[in-house]
C-alpha cells in the first residue's frame, strides 16, 4: 500500500491542492495560445519542446532520405544512345543550378542532416522533453527550481533555431556539421548562410546551458522529504549528470562558433596559417565540446532505460550505485577524450594519450549494460512497446559500443577513421541508443503526459519496422567502411553499390516505422482510451500523479517512504493489488 497521499483522479478529496489537468483548456483558442506562450509550467514547456524536436527530427530525416536516395547509384559518365557524353546516377541533380552542382546539392543535404539532427534535435533531445516533464514529478516537486528560466530556455531555443532554419531554407551550407576549417572559412558560396547557421548554433547553446543549470539546482534543492541522493530514480541521476556536462561544456561551442563567425566576418586569422593561425585548432575547440555532447545525448537515454526496464520487468535495478556512479564517471571522463576524433591529424604522443583515456570511458558504459541485463534475471517481463524498445536499445547500443573499440584503438582507427564504419558506429549509439530510448520513454510515459493510451498493436509494428529498418540501413555500413568507402561521398567506386542499395532500402523501412508511430500517436490523442494514473504499475513518483498530471503535479507534497524500484516489497499506487503480487520472501540486499 502506497504511503503517498496524492489525488488519484477519482472523486475529489477534501484538502489538498487541485487545479485540474495541465492540459485543460483555459476557454477559447486565444486564451490557450497565451497560456502556453507564457507558461512557466515545466510540463507545458516539455510538451512544446517535444513537438518541436519531433518536427525537426522529421526535417532531418527528410535530409537523410535525400542523401540515401542520391547514394543508390554512383555518378557515371557514359556515352548515351545519341552519342553524347552524359553523367547519370545523380538523383539530386534536378536541384542543381548555376551556383551548385549535383555534388554540391548532396553535400548540403548531408550537412543539413547532421546539423539539424545534432544541434536541433538530439542535444536538446531527452532532457528538454522528457527531462523537463518528469524531473520535477520524479522528485516530488511542483516544478523546476527556476520556472521562468525554463521558459527562457525554450524561447532561446526557438530564437536560435530560426537562424538555423532560415539558413537551411535558402540553401543551407555544405561544410559538414563539423564545420572544419579552412573549408568553412574559405568557402565563398555560402557566406551569409554559414554565418546564420553558426549564429543559430551559438544561440541554441544558451538554451542548453540554461536547462542544465536549472536541472542541477532542481536535483540539489527540490527533492521531496525522504528522498536522499540514493533514493532518487536513475533517470534523475542521468539528467543530473547530463546537466553538469551541459553547463560545463556548452560554453566551449559558444566560443568556437563565435571564433568561426569572427574569422569569416573580420578575418581574425585564428585558423588561417597565412596569419599564424592553425586550422587544427578549430578541431580541438570543436571536439572539446562535441565529445562531451555525445554524453549529453546518451546519458539521459541510459536514464530512460533504467526506468523502463525496472518497471516493465518489475524488478529493482541490479547495481543501483554502480549505475549512478557510472553516470557521473562517464560525465567526468567525457571531457578528457576529445582527441580521439582527430587521430589522423595529431602527433603520436597526443594520439596515445587520447586512445588510452578513451578506453576509460568504455568501462563504466559496459558496466551499465551488464547491470541492465542482470536486472532481467528473475524478473516478471511484459512484452509491450516500451519493453520492446528497451530490449532493442540493449541490442543496438551494445553493437554501437563494441564497434567503438576499433575506433579507440590506434592501429585500426588509421583505416576506419572518416569511413562509413564511423558513420555506422555513431548511428548505432545515437539513433540505436538515444532515439530508441526516446521512443521507449515516449511509449512508457505517453499515458502520463497526455492521459491517453495508444494502440499497442500498431505501436509494436512500428517498433519492428524501425528495429529491422535501422539494422538494414546501418549494419552493412560497418562493412562498407572497412572495405574502403569514405564518408561524405556523393558518389563512389562501383563495387560499393550493392551495399548502398541495401542501406537505402533500410531507410525506407525506417520512414515507414516512423509514420506508423506518428499515426498511432495522433490517433491516441484524438481517440485513445483514457489512461489511468498507473497503467504499468510503476513505483516512481510520477505514477502517483494523475494522467495527465494536475497543474501543480501533486495534491500534497509527497513524503517518500520507499525506494524507486522496490518492486519486491511495495505494491504500486492506483493499481489492483491482485495484479501486482509480491514475492513471499524479500531478497537479501
Amino acid at each position: 500500500m502506497s504511503s503517498l497521499d496524492t489525488h488519484s483522479g477519482s472523486a475529489p478529496q477534501l484538502g489538498g491542492d487541485h487545479h485540474g489537468s495541465y492540459l485543460t483548456s483555459k476557454g477559447g483558442l486565444w486564451a490557450d495560445i497565451t497560456n502556453w506562450a507564457t507558461t512557466v509550467d515545466h510540463k507545458k514547456i516539455g510538451v512544446m519542446y517535444l513537438v518541436a524536436l519531433l518536427t525537426l527530427f522529421f526535417l532531418g530525416g527528410v535530409m537523410a532520405l535525400a542523401v540515401r536516395i542520391e547514394l543508390l547509384e554512383p555518378a557515371r559518365i557514359i556515352t548515351n544512345a545519341a552519342g553524347e557524353t552524359v553523367t547519370t546516377g545523380q538523383r539530386l541533380a534536378f536541384l542543381a543550378n548555376d551556383g551548385a552542382t549535383a555534388n554540391n546539392i548532396y553535400n548540403r543535404a548531408m550537412t543539413l542532416h547532421g546539423a539539424i539532427m545534432t544541434f536541433m534535435f538530439i542535444v536538446p533531445g531527452i532532457p528538454a522533453s522528457l527531462g523537463n516533464f518528469f524531473l520535477p514529478l520524479m522528485i516530488g516537486a511542483k516544478d523546476v527550481a527556476f520556472p521562468r528560466l525554463n521558459l527562457g530556455s525554450w524561447y532561446v531555443y526557438v530564437f536560435g533555431s530560426l537562424f538555423a532554419l532560415a539558413s537551411a531554407l535558402v540553401g543551407g551550407i555544405d561544410t559538414g556539421w563539423t564545420l572544419y576549417t579552412p573549408y568553412s572559412t574559405m568557402t565563398d558560396a555560402d557566406h551569409w548562410r554559414l554565418v546564420a547557421m553558426v549564429t543559430g548554433v551559438f544561440i541554441m547553446g544558451f538554451s542548453s546551458i540554461m536547462t542544465g543549470l536549472n536541472f542541477v539546482v532542481t536535483v540539489h534543492k527540490l527533492r521531496a522529504p525522504g528522498m536522499g541522493w540514493f533514493d532518487m530514480p536513475l533517470f534523475v541521476w542521468a539528467i543530473y549528470a547530463t546537466a553538469i556536462i551541459q553547463v560545463l561544456a556548452t560554453p566551449v561551442i559558444g566560443i568556437t562558433t563565435l571564433m568561426l563567425i569572427f574569422e569569416r566576418l573580420f578575418n581574425f586569422g585564428l585558423f588561417d596559417p597565412r596569419m599564424g593561425g592553425d586550422p587544427v585548432l578549430f578541431q580541438h575547440f570543436f571536439w572539446f565540446y562535441s565529445h562531451p555532447v555525445v554524453y549529453i545525448m546518451i546519458l539521459p537515454a541510459f536514464g530512460v532505460i533504467s526506468e523502463t526496464i525496472t518497471c516493465h520487468a518489475r524488478k529493482p535495478i541490479f547495481g543501483y550505485r554502480s549505475v549512478a556512479f557510472a553516470s557521473l564517471g562517464i560525465a567526468a571522463v567525457s571531457f578528457l577524450v576529445w582527441g580521439h576524433h582527430m587521430f589522423t591529424s595529431q602527433g603520436e604522443l597526443t594520439a596515445a594519450i587520447f586512445s588510452f583515456l578513451t578506453f576509460f570511458v568504455a568501462v563504466p558504459t559496459a558496466i551499465k549494460v551488464f547491470n541492465w541485463i542482470a536486472t532481467l534475471y528473475k524478473g516478471s517481463i511484459v512484452f509491450n512497446t516500451p519493453m520492446l524498445y528497451t530490449l532493442g536499445f540493449l541490442f543496438l547500443f551494445t553493437i554501437g559500443g563494441l564497434t567503438g573499440l576499433p575506433l579507440a584503438t590506434l592501429s585500426t582507427d588509421m583505416h576506419l577513421h572518416d569511413s562509413y564504419y564511423v558513420v555506422a558506429h555513431f548511428h548505432y549509439v545515437m539513433f540505436g541508443g538515444t532515439v530508441i530510448a526516446l521512443l521507449a520513454g515516449l511509449h512508457h510515459w505517453w499515458p502520463k503526459i497526455f492521459g491517453k493510451m495508444y494502440a499497442e498493436a500498431p505501436a509494436q509494428i512500428g517498433f519492428w519496422l524501425i528495429f529491422l529498418g535501422f539494422n538494414t540501413t546501418f549494419l552493412i555500413q560497418f562493412i562498407m567502411g572497412a572495405h574502403g568507402m569514405p564518408r561524405r561521398y556523393a558518389s563512389y567506386p562501383d563495387e560499393f553499390q550493392w551495399m548502398h542499395v541495401i542501406s537505402t532500402v533500410g531507410s525506407w523501412m525506417l520512414l515507414a516505422g516512423f509514420l506508423v508511430h506518428l499515426f498511432t500517436f495522433i490517433h491516441s490523442l484524438l481517440q485513445g482510451k483514457p489512461a489511468g494514473a498507473n497503467p504499468w504499475g510503476g513505483l516512481t513518483l510520477e505514477w502517483h500523479a494523475d494522467s495527465p498530471p494536475d497543474e501543480h503535479n501533486f495534491a500534497h507534497e509527497p513524503i517518500v517512504k520507499h525506494g524507486p524500484y522496490d518492486y519486491d516489497t511495495v505494491v504500486p499506487p492506483h493499481v489492483d493489488p491482485a495484479d501486482y503480487p509480491l514475492p513471499d520472501k524479500p531478497a537479501s540486499h
Binding site: A75, N103, Y183, S355, P406, Y489, P493
Partner: protein
C-alpha cells in the same frame, strides 16, 4: 610473458604472401598488402571476435531471460539480490584487461603504420581541390590515368565508368615509400584502403605517409605495354578521406605496384616530355586537375567547358565581353579572380607557380584543338612535336640531373602514356 604476447601478431603475419582469408574478404574485401596492414587487421580481428563473444553471451542471456521470466498473471517475480560485489568486480576487471591489450597493441601497430624505415623512396604529394600531384624524387609527374575502381583496368568496361579518371602512380614492389604531403587549400586526407592507413593533409605543414607494398605474386595480373613489354602489376585505389568541398568524392588515384625495373622505366618516361604541343597541354591539364571542373565536350561543370572556348567571345560577371585569346587564357589560369564568367562561381584558385610558362603554352595549344573558332594554321601548329624536330633523340637520359631544379609545383612533363579511352581528349 608480456613480450611473448606482443609477438603473437608478428608470428601470425609470417606468411605475407598468403591469400586473403575468409574473414579478410568479409571485412575488408581483401587482405592487407603491407606487413603493417596485416598487423592492424590482426588487431581488428581480435577485437571483432572478442566483441562477437561478448555480444552473443549478452544477447543470449537477454533473450533467454526475457522468455523464461515473462510475466505470468498473478505470479510474483521471485526475489533476487540486486547487487553482487564479486560479480561486479569481475565484470569490471575483465573488460579493463582486454582494453589494455587493445590500447598497447593498437599503439604499436599505429607506429608501424606511420613510421617509414630508412632508405625509403621519397616523393612529394600535393593535395588540392580536387586532385593530387605526386612528384617523384627527380620531380617527375605521372601522365597516366585509370578508372576509379578497385578492379584491374582490364576488367573495366570503357563505356561505363564511375565519374572521372584518376592519376596512376607507379611504385616498386617490396620497397618502402615515404610521401611528404601538404595541401594547397583546405584539409584533405590520403587513404589507401589496401594499406589500412590514412593521414590528414594540411595547408600549413607537412605530414607523412608511408607504405612498403608486398611483392608481386604469380596471381597478379599482367599488363601488355607497347614500350616496356609485359609486366605484372597490382593496383590499389586511393581516396580522399577528409571532406574538402564539391568534388571530395572525385579525388581518387591509383597506386600501381610494379617490378623495380618497370618503375624506373616509367619514371624515365614521365621525366621526358613527349608528344605534340596539344598532347603535352592535355597532360598538363590532367596533372593539375583541370578536368575536375572543366569539361571538354560541352557538358556543364563547376567551371566553363573548354569546348569552343578559345578564340570566342564570352560574357563576364562584371558585364564585360572578352575574347578568349592566348592572353586571356593565361590570365584565367594565373589570376582567375580577375574576370569571372557569367553564371559561374568565383571558385578557381590560381595556378601561378604550378604551371610554368612553357606548360602554359602547351595548355593553350590544347585548348585551341577544342575550339571550332581556331584557325587552320593555328591548329596545325598545335600538332607539332618539338622532339621530332631535334636532330638527336633529345630524350632525357638517366642522369638528367639538370631537369631536377624546379620551384614548387611541377616542371617535368610527361607523355600521353597509357591513358584510357574515356579520358577527356581533344575532340
Amino acid at each position: 610473458m608480456i613480450g611473448f604476447l606482443a609477438n603473437i601478431p608478428s608470428t601470425v603475419l609470417s606468411a605475407p604472401l598468403a591469400s586473403a582469408s575468409l574473414q579478410d574478404l568479409f571485412w575488408f574485401g581483401g587482405r592487407g598488402y603491407t606487413d603493417a596492414a596485416r598487423q592492424a587487421d590482426w588487431m581488428f580481428m581480435f577485437i571483432w571476435w572478442l566483441s562477437v563473444a561478448f555480444f552473443v553471451v549478452l544477447m543470449a542471456l537477454m533473450v533467454w531471460w526475457t522468455f523464461v521470466y515473462r510475466r505470468r498473471k498473478g505470479k510474483a517475480a521471485p526475489a533476487s539480490p540486486s547487487h553482487n560485489t564479486p560479480l561486479e568486480i569481475t565484470w569490471t576487471v575483465i573488460p579493463t584487461i582486454f582494453f589494455a591489450v587493445m590500447f598497447f597493441e593498437g599503439f604499436r601497430g599505429y607506429i608501424n603504420l606511420n613510421y617509414a624505415p630508412t632508405g625509403a623512396i621519397e616523393a612529394n604529394l600535393i593535395a588540392f581541390q580536387w586532385s593530387w600531384t605526386l612528384e617523384y624524387p627527380d620531380g617527375q609527374i605521372t601522365t597516366e590515368t585509370a578508372m576509379k575502381t578497385r578492379g584491374t583496368l582490364a576488367e573495366n568496361d570503357e563505356e561505363n565508368f564511375s565519374s572521372k579518371p584518376a592519376p596512376v602512380w607507379y611504385f616498386p614492389e617490396g620497397e618502402p615509400v615515404l610521401l611528404r604531403m601538404t595541401s594547397r587549400d583546405v584539409i584533405h586526407s590520403f587513404w589507401i584502403p589496401d594499406f589500412r592507413v590514412k593521414q590528414d593533409i594540411f595547408p600549413n605543414r607537412y605530414t607523412s605517409y608511408t607504405f612498403t607494398p608486398d611483392a608481386l605474386t604469380d596471381s597478379a595480373p599482367i599488363m601488355e605495354d607497347e614500350e616496356l613489354g609485359a609486366f605484372r602489376y597490382r593496383d590499389h585505389i586511393l581516396l580522399c578521406a577528409e571532406y574538402c568541398g564539391n568534388d571530395h568524392s572525385e579525388m581518387a588515384g591509383v597506386i600501381r605496384i610494379v617490378p623495380r625495373d618497370i618503375y624506373e622505366a616509367k619514371l624515365e618516361i614521365f621525366g621526358s616530355p613527349r608528344g605534340t604541343l596539344a598532347e603535352r597541354g592535355r597532360i598538363v591539364a590532367q596533372q593539375n586537375g583541370c578536368f575536375s571542373c572543366h569539361s571538354v565536350d560541352g557538358s556543364s561543370g563547376t567551371g566553363p567547358t573548354w569546348l569552343n572556348l578559345y578564340n570566342n567571345e564570352h560574357q563576364y560577371t562584371d558585364g564585360s565581353t572578352i575574347l578568349a585569346d592566348d592572353n586571356h587564357i593565361r590570365e584565367s589560369v594565373y589570376i582567375p579572380q580577375a574576370h569571372i564568367r557569367a553564371g559561374y562561381p568565383n571558385q578557381m584558385v590560381s595556378y601561378q607557380g604550378a604551371i610554368s610558362t612553357e606548360q602554359m603554352g602547351w595548355l593553350i595549344s590544347y585548348m585551341k584543338t577544342l575550339s571550332e573558332a581556331t584557325t587552320d594554321a593555328e591548329l596545325a601548329a598545335t600538332q607539332v612535336d618539338p622532339d621530332a624536330e631535334a636532330s638527336d633523340d633529345g630524350q632525357s637520359g638517366e642522369g638528367d640531373v639538370q631537369d631536377v631544379q624546379q620551384p614548387e609545383g611541377q616542371e617535368a612533363q610527361g607523355q600521353p602514356g597509357e591513358t584510357m579511352e574515356g579520358t577527356p581528349s581533344d575532340g
